[in-house]
Symmetry: C2
Subunit: 449 residues, 2 copies
């Protein structure tokens, strides 16, 4: 691999390692929890990744998990693994405040389905992570763990920062525009956005039903695959999920590609936003891959994807968040008020036209996925911008959220000011296993280069 | 049954009879076609049910069907049975003009899926029937066969009149507000609107995707069930259809109820529109059924169903028919132009709120269907109104279209001026067989009363 591009090293053990050592009795949930709490205690005063965290409760839950295991009872694939959860996702053990003072102290009566699935798999929900206001643009206090003067990205900023800093091996976020893939890039971690509809969003703040997707932050592709397997599945409470067989994504991620993968390098309709670091990185990777990758242009209709994604999202804001204006418009950011007003003005006909294009652009990608295993494309315009007043641009994410493809951020490089830069690998909807397998192949392939 | 309420007699053989006699070789498709053509020739100058009819082509197709059968090749369940098709449904053998001069001479390249299914079952598509303009309010020239000075209803006016006059045993229509159930009542025939999504609408003019439903006009419940069985099924070209097993609706319709059915008599939120004939009819039937039926009131949210159905429909007009304004606004009726303008002004948020209520009201009916086999409710405010400048009110239909329930008009009575009055039986979505079985039971039950 050429100069300036290097695989980032991660210091905390992966979830897979922790789970294996716990299952073997070589480690206790309490030891793992204590080591996370120690790192959080040392660092979170500056990083500010957590919105809610109760160390005493965490230790008690860890002890209960250890008693369960020591009693010889069956344990799940995430037994004792700490997971941080974005604060728009309902938890029965912590408040869920949606990044808004209007929800201060809000206590859900029950866990979101995805939290219940994590707990059923034995995970320890260690705390709630900072989200931007209603998962849109007004940031919370979180800082980039690699440089506190920079944003960690958004909206899942606390989740990305907590994993990026080594406070926890895993965190859950969500993406309606670019809220998983972009902060993962800025914080130097793996960010995995599963196929639209794969993970239930019952109990998660609705921003925009046709776009909202839960996502995972992890330090390895295998960890993301393990959590994806746990989270996936039909939920009668979320009509977007389908009653289909659950795949073992970890096994798929670990498998060897049956043939040498081929990648489509898509710079995409928003390439003008690319910063020099990104331009150089894509060029270097294209060169390193040689015949294994082709540059592919998307046809003109894809130019509209960003605007159409924004239209749907703003209608979603108007639909779901207008009630907050009624409760206290002054406590809602000006950015959000403007977005709600824009969304409220969209006509049904324009909304439905965007929905139609959503289907058309998704179907149109078959042409690419028929020839390539995955699309390699930017995750963000470059390094995390300086300052924490804004979270950077989702301009390289909106298209892939719009069409519902699975996507993963791979922390492949370091930029010119020493901050991480990830690239995004995008797969065919429903073929998450193949995407994760291709992601692991790409990591190995570039490490050899 | 009390005075003033009597089962209507029908003179033409049913589709089931025709199919049986044809299969037995006791009748030829040509003989059946000739007898339909004769009736059409004698009557259609006045009734004006047909928009397109080519007797020479009909005879040629009938002869081909006879040759096929005589060659000993396998025949379908509708072999040789003439079916008339509403002129918003694409046919490769006839123009499809959507009731608009702007589509004069429009020749589809292929049959709608439902037409292809009819042909695959051996049916003879005899001609195209008059529709109101784009299946909305501006009527065509069709008259009520029972009294030419009265409307046959709309929008499937030619289909209802052709069956009501005995020109054909079967016709296909569609319903977005009340376009099958109401004209069936006015024309004294059975009108069957299957569960939403049961019949593919690929190749049918889209008015409003969340409401549009194909329907059947017939002289008996069994005929409607036979055609429903043929039309039902998954079609990749229509995402509203589902890949589920096809039920034999004819067998279901003919089966005995496992227990004595119980009916909910729902006068409904628009009961103020009921004319004295209808009020008397419902009272008489309630009395005849005694303990087998209960009067059931729907809770307040159902009061909004009509307005919400109209909102969705008008958005549909704006979405699908604005292109006609561009091609020639003068050729579009003032009523339609006003509806398009109304639909264009609906916001996405209001549209989505109506879609939410659609789900909520549908789910809310479980309370009724858990206790009753079917809902008995008006099909129209009374007899067909005088004049052919308007098609009568869909006020008793919009709710049931909105919630996607299967429904059937049973021609149960004659009103004070001698015109038919039907009542509507409504079933639980997906339980079309049970609805048709209950409909046959009700007919027998009232004939005994």
């Amino acid at each position: 691999m050429a100069a300036g591009v290097g695989l980032r090293k991660v210091s905390i053990p992966s979830a897979v390692e922790i789970a294996e050592r716990l299952a073997a009795g070589a480690l206790s949930a309490r030891e793992v929890a204590d080591s996370c709490l120690e790192r959080i205690g040392a660092r979170d005063g500056e990083v500010r990744a957590f919105a809610h965290l109760d160390p005493a409760q965490v230790r008690a839950e860890a002890d209960a998990l250890d008693r369960h295991r020591k009693a010889g009872r069956p344990i799940g694939p995430l037994h004792g693994v700490p997971v941080a959860v974005k604060d728009i996702i309902d938890t029965a053990t912590y408040p869920t405040e949606n990044g808004s003072p209007l929800d201060a102290g809000r206590r859900p009566r029950q866990d979101a389905t995805l939290v219940a699935r994590l707990r059923a798999a034995g995970a320890l929900v260690i705390g709630k992570t900072v989200t931007t206001e209603f998962a849109y643009y007004r940031p919370g206090p979180t800082r980039n763990p690699h440089n506190l003067a920079h944003t960690p990205g958004g909206s899942s900023q606390g989740s990305a920062a907590a994993v990026g800093d080594g406070m926890v091996p895993l965190a859950i976020g969500s993406q309606t525009a670019g809220s998983v893939i972009r902060p993962a890039s800025f914080c130097g971690v793996v960010g995995y956005k599963p196929t639209y509809g794969m993970v239930s969003l019952a109990g998660v703040l609705s921003i925009c039903e046709p776009l909202d997707t839960a996502g995972v932050f992890a330090t390895t592709v295998e960890d993301a695959a393990l959590v994806g397997t746990v989270l996936a599945g039909y939920d009668a409470a979320d009509p977007r999920t389908r009653p289909v067989a659950r795949a073992d994504l970890l096994a798929a991620a670990r498998s060897e590609p049956p043939a040498a993968p081929r990648l489509a390098i898509v710079r995409g309709p928003t390439w003008d936003a690319a910063e020099p670091d990104l331009v150089g990185l894509i060029d270097e990777i294209a060169e390193a891959l040689g015949d294994e990758a082709d540059a592919v242009d998307l046809p003109a209709p894809y130019d509209d994807a960003f605007a159409l994604q924004q239209r749907l999202m703003k209608v979603g804001f108007a639909r779901h968040l207008t009630r907050y204006l009624e409760r206290g418009a002054d406590a809602v950011s000006e950015l959000m008020r403007a977005a709600i007003a824009e969304g409220a003005a969209v006509t049904a006909v324009d909304y439905l036209a965007a929905r139609d294009m959503q289907t058309a652009l998704a179907v149109g990608l078959d042409r690419v996925f028929d020839r390539y295993d995955a699309i390699l494309t930017p995750a963000a315009p470059g390094e995390a911008p300086a300052g924490i007043e804004a979270t950077g641009s989702p301009v390289f994410n909106a298209l892939w959220t719009f069409v519902g493809t699975p996507a993963i951020t791979l922390p492949l490089a370091t930029g010119s000011t020493g901050l991480p830069i990830g690239l995004q690998l995008v797969g065919r909807p429903g073929e998450d296993g193949r995407l994760l397998r291709t992601a692991r192949w790409l990591q190995r392939r570039l490490a050899e280069a």
